[in-house]
Amino acid sequence: MSSNILLFLGTFLASAVEAVEALTIVLAVGVVRGWRSTLLGVAAASVVLAAIIAALGPALQRIPISTLRLVVGALLLTFGLQWLRKAILRAGGYKPLHDEAAAFASGRAEAGSAATPAGRTDWYSFTVAFKGVLLEGLEVAFIVIGFGSAQGKLGLAIGAAAAAVVVVVAVGLVVRGPLERVPENTLKFVVGVLLTSFGIFWGGEGAGVEWPGSDAAILAAVALVGILSVALTQALRRRRQAASPAEVRA
């Protein structure tokens, strides 16, 4: 039960973070250059992502569960540690926070300066929207496939991702702008903790480990990774403060 909740939460939050970034790109292009070709690009990228999940999901379920968990665990661990590393460095002040308002303004300026289309289809809008949605969605597709197939709950993982996209798009339509108030780094931090913890658990099971406490070991992994990440963030903040107290106070 708790692993289902964590699976839903991890997939939902990862999808929400990537959906916010994709929405910023789509809004920037659509507002400046029109919606027809932009939405065609979004639709084409969504079809490609759905095809990847539809093709890989059932195919992966034919692989022996221990091999699958080893591969999925390794993949989730590499993704999780990448997300976590960036989130810790951003929270500690060693990397700038992702700024959706700045990304929107820069995307808008680029879209405005690109050549206007000669035909009916604006290929600039199509390509930028297609690339934005595909690249932001690809990692989500792997997380959905990974979470879903390793736990035999592909439907739950797809549902969580779809719910996140619906929520982000609905909020985007209501505020009619980029979602700048979303605490993106906090979400990335939480997702990083969950991906890393599931990666440890499934990767270990795939390698033949028997976890003390069975499924409860996932919660222990979440606690270990969470406490370590918070401690690292605090240590970075103290280090930053010690290095330049005036700058930090400002």
């Binding site: 080893l70 390794a74 993949l75 661990l77 590499t78 540690l81 990448q82 976590l84 590393r85 960036k86 810790i88 460095l89 500690g92 002040g93 060693y94 990397k95 700038p96 690809l138 990692e139 890393t196 440890i200 990767g203 270990g204 390698a207 033949g208 480990v209 028997e210 976890w211 003390p212 070991a217 992994a221 270990l224 990774v225 370590l228 990440s229 690292l232 970075l236 280090r239």
Partner: protein, 68 residues
Amino acid sequence: MKYVVAFGRFWWNFIVGDDWRVAAGLAVAFAGTWTLTHHGVNAWWLLPIAVVLLLVGSVLREARSGGA
């Protein structure tokens, strides 16, 4: 040829990311866990220890270099 290189670079960045040492360390940790468990040692502790060491090492390395 440049498309092959770009395709390879995309997957390298996608899977390995900014710090190749983390991916290499994970590969070693998985190989070690698999080897130990298949020789009768229930090495459940190896992956958590590896994750702690790799995350701390990677974050501190980046912080020492001043961040991006």
